[in-house]
């Protein structure tokens, strides 16, 4: 009788039992598959899965989701990043080899229970780190957004033109060390201190794709660009 025939006549309970039994045997066969390629595949696959569990749980926790189980999935992912590759690249091959070669009782015992010992250590670590997490496993998502260590530099640049001249000023000069005005890559004005108000002549500006334009860069004390504004003469209002 084929397995399909057997399934057709089996009771639902028997069918579930058989399916679960087959799934368990499949799982064991995957766990113990020991070719170099599969050792690598399982190790890398668990590494990826660990990363996912760790980061996704951390993310949900950072949003204040108070499901305790998440602290354990976070710990599971974190430990799995190392333990997954360790298990399938080192422990399983070692246990399989030991089952073939062990001749002393203690080694035979380790060989027989090696996977259970490994899994127990792994789960114990997960329980400990889930209950009392250590700092390297805590991804910080929000503190840097709340510490207010910097200051926002985003003033308005107000320009107007009259008689071939353009005058500009900044609404706020806090945090700005220098202002550099360029046109077509050529520097035409540099202001080293407030008030950052300047006047440039339209004739000094380069034409780019049919339009005269200039760029105003705000820089900090380390000469790093804080903000950059590009203005076209045609869009500057008349005074």
């Amino acid at each position: 009788m084929t397995s399909t025939d057997a399934n057709a006549t089996a009771s639902p309970l028997e069918l579930v039992r058989r399916t679960l039994g087959q799934a368990w045997r499949d799982l064991l066969s995957i766990y113990y598959t020991n070719t170099p390629i599969w050792r690598l595949l399982k190790s890398v696959g668990l590494l990826f899965f660990g990363f996912f569990c760790w980061s996704a749980s951390s993310l949900l926790l950072s949003y204040g989701v108070d499901w305790t189980v998440l602290t354990y999935t976070r710990a599971y992912g974190f430990v799995l990043i190392l333990w997954g590759p360790l298990t399938h690249a080192v422990v399983v091959p070692f246990v399989i080899r030991l089952r073939r070669t062990a001749d002393r009782p203690i080694f035979r015992s380790v060989a027989r229970h090696g996977s259970k010992i490994n899994l127990s250590v792994f789960l114990t670590l997960v329980l400990i780190l889930g209950t009392a997490p250590v700092s390297p496993m805590l991804l910080d998502f929000q503190s840097s957004l709340q510490n207010g260590s910097g200051s926002d530099v985003n003033p308005d640049l107000v320009c107007s033109k009259s008689d071939g001249e353009i005058t500009c000023q900044l609404s706020d000069s806090d945090g700005i060390d220098a202002v550099v005005v360029t046109s077509g890559g050529r520097e035409i004005e540099r202001l080293e201190g407030p008030p950052f108000e300047f006047t440039i002549r339209e004739d000094d500006l380069e034409e780019v794709v049919g339009q005269k334009e200039f760029v105003v860069e705000l820089r900090d004390a380390d000469a790093r660009t804080l903000r950059r504004y590009r203005r076209y003469v045609s869009s500057v209002p008349e005074r």
Binding site: D26, I30, F141, Q142, S149, V153
Partner: protein, 597 residues
């Protein structure tokens, strides 16, 4: 006899008097004209890969701010060169080679109009050089174009000219393929195309659509930049631009899937579970895949909400459905094909017994798995109107397209290059062991680097295209320094991935120059699924790998007679990963909007 210009003997194979030879691995009747042009385009693609790969070092080491190699302007220039050489030139040169494989080679025909093919190659090469030169010599007021040379950004006119020349060259190079298809239908009007040829044909149609979009976008932009026309509508330009901007990536996708079908069939003995279903999936691509381009405009004020919802919800799922069909059909084909040969055993015995030491096989499988899990799922999420807002212009977007174009297409194309080295250039790898290792090493390292890109983008909101963010975004009151640990992992694994890429180039070029020449068909027996059969048939069909079913228990059994429960389990795992990732992204979005708070 080799051509007098063939000093390295790369184009020197033994052909019969009619110009054909029989490939010992695929059983295909290969004509000299088709094979030489596949080699020409393939070699050029590898040169672009090498150049773009070198620029990957400077780009990655700038984004990893612990190193912080380049300043903002130099970084953008390097990033533009990196993108154009890898996203466009490496891919498109390879895709023309794939068209010549899928067309004349699979159909057992000679390549018609070889002078046109050579002209196409030359024009493409000139266009590629022009684009590279224009980006490299960009000076203010021009800016480096990256892949979004939006009007009215001032870009060097030479860039637009180079892009137009390259596009025209590609259309010219594709012409012999279309002529082959036409000739085939003239000669065999009642016969359907083999699946790989059909896939190549769909690829070519999508390619022409994308390329015409490129001409429609770039030609007026060039005229505007030369100030021949005074004004050009930026919103119109963006719509036209993305037909090629994203369309080229859709060519990669369809070409990659054609390669998946071809290589899994040849080296792993995969069967096509249902020709009709697979062909239908390609047809769905034809109608819907280019709508994926719409996701670039989801934050664009110029398009209506109706336009966005149509393109990114209803129509877009036509392409997603097609991808899900292939995602099932290809592993199912491998499973059924291998079980038919008696290579099943348990749930995953068909996979464990597969030729993992063959880099052609492992590259193909990693491409399928990593494209599906990392690139495909994130693509569907990014293509959705609502979720797009959390991904748009963050580093996660960069992670997504590295998952599709690098882990998917590039890895598949690397597998194809490994295959071509053995079957067309007739060279042994300079190191079998390193060739076996390379796909594992590169895919794993790149996979982690890609995950980190996604994480720092989606979890921290780290922007793309900028040289510095972690130290601080200058002038703003928040910092992204919390992303530093993941950026460190990204930096390390990016370096490892680059090392894997260098290893590929060394293996490919080294094997061509110094690999032992394959004189006998027995030297390639390991490339055929399970080493092929003991008795070799001389009458194998042109579209079938030689001896593909020699080891089958009963070659006449329909493929449906074999169970595919391993594939079913893999698909369930894929579905679970998809659902969890989807829910997580939606949860993140609801938190941003404080829904229910």
């Amino acid at each position: 006899m080799a051509h007098r210009l063939d000093v390295l003997g790369l184009f020197d194979n033994e052909y019969r008097d009619d110009g054909f030879r029989t490939c010992s691995v695929t059983g295909l009747e290969v004509h000299r004209s088709a094979e030489n042009h596949v080699k020409l385009f393939g070699l050029t693609a590898v040169v672009a890969l090498l150049y773009g790969g070198i620029l990957a070092i400077t780009v990655a080491m700038t984004r990893w701010e612990v190193v912080g190699l380049l300043g903002p302007e130099a970084f953008y220039k390097h990033l533009s060169l990196h993108a154009w050489n890898l996203l466009i030139f490496w891919m498109v040169f390879m895709e023309i080679a794939i068209l010549y494989v899928g067309g004349p080679m699979v159909l057992g025909r000679r390549l018609p109009f070889t002078a046109i093919a050579k002209t196409g190659w030359l024009v493409m090469a000139v266009g590629a050089v022009l684009v590279n030169y224009s980006i490299w010599t960009t000076e203010p007021p021009n800016v480096a174009p990256l892949l979004t040379a939006y009007v009215p950004l001032p870009i060097d006119p030479l860039f637009y000219a180079g892009a137009i020349v390259f596009i025209l060259g590609t259309v010219v190079a594709a012409l012999p393929f279309f002529v082959t298809m036409w000739q085939e239908k003239q000669d065999q009007p009642e016969q359907t195309l083999p699946l790989v040829s059909f896939a190549a044909f769909v690829t070519a149609i999508i390619a022409v659509e994308a390329l015409v979009g490129g001409l429609v976008a770039f030609t007026p932009a060039l005229l505007w930049r030369l100030e021949i026309i005074e004004w050009w509508d930026a919103a119109w330009y963006r719509q036209m631009y993305w037909i090629i901007g994203h369309g080229t990536q859709q060519i990669n996708l369809v070409a990659m899937i054609a390669v998946w079908y071809f290589l899994t069939h040849v080296v792993a003995g995969a069967e096509v579970v249902s020709e009709k279903v697979s062909r239908t999936a390609f047809i769905l691509y034809l109608f819907f895949i280019n709508l994926g381009a719409a996701h670039h405009l989801l934050s664009d004020p110029a398009v209506s909400t109706g336009w966005r919802i149509w393109n990114t919800s209803y129509a877009f799922y036509g392409a997603t459905f097609a991808s899900l069909i292939h995602a099932f059909a290809i592993p199912a084909g491998i499973e059924a094909g291998r079980r038919k040969r008696g290579k099943g055993g348990g749930l995953f015995g068909w996979l464990t017994s597969a030729p993992w030491s063959n880099p052609v096989f492992s590259s193909t499988i990693f491409s399928i798995i990593l494209f599906g899990f990392l690139g495909g799922t994130t693509g569907v999420m990014m293509g959705q109107l609502q979720l797009n807002m959390t991904w748009h212009n963050t580093f996660a977007t960069v992670g997504h397209f590295h998952a599709t174009v690098v882990l998917g297409t590039t890895v598949a194309f690397m597998g194809l290059v490994f295959f071509v080295i053995r079957t067309m250039f007739m060279r042994q790898y300079i190191s079998e062991r390193l060739a076996t290792l390379q796909p594992f090493f590169y895919s794993a390292a790149m996979g982690v680097a890609v995950l980190m890109m996604m994480y720092v983008g989606i979890l921290y909101g780290v922007p793309r295209r900028t040289a510095e963010v972690v130290e601080t975004i200058p002038g703003t009151e928040f910092s992204l320094s919390a992303a530093s640990p993941l950026f460190a992992i990204f930096g390390i694994f990016a370096l490892l991935a680059i090392a894997g890429g260098i290893l590929f180039i060394l293996l490919a070029v080294g094997s061509l120059l110094f690999g032992d020449r394959i004189e006998s068909s027995d030297n390639n027996a390991d490339l055929v699924a399970d080493g092929g059969g003991s008795e070799r048939s001389s009458t194998s069909s042109a579209s079938e790998p030689r001896d593909s079913l020699a080891m089958a228990t009963d070659p006449d059994d329909p493929v449906h007679a074999y169970e595919m429960r391993g594939t079913f389990v893999i698909c369930l795992v894929f579905l679970a990963a998809f659902v969890i990732t989807y829910l997580l992204n939606w949860y993140l979005l609801t938190q941003l909007w404080s829904i229910g708070a």
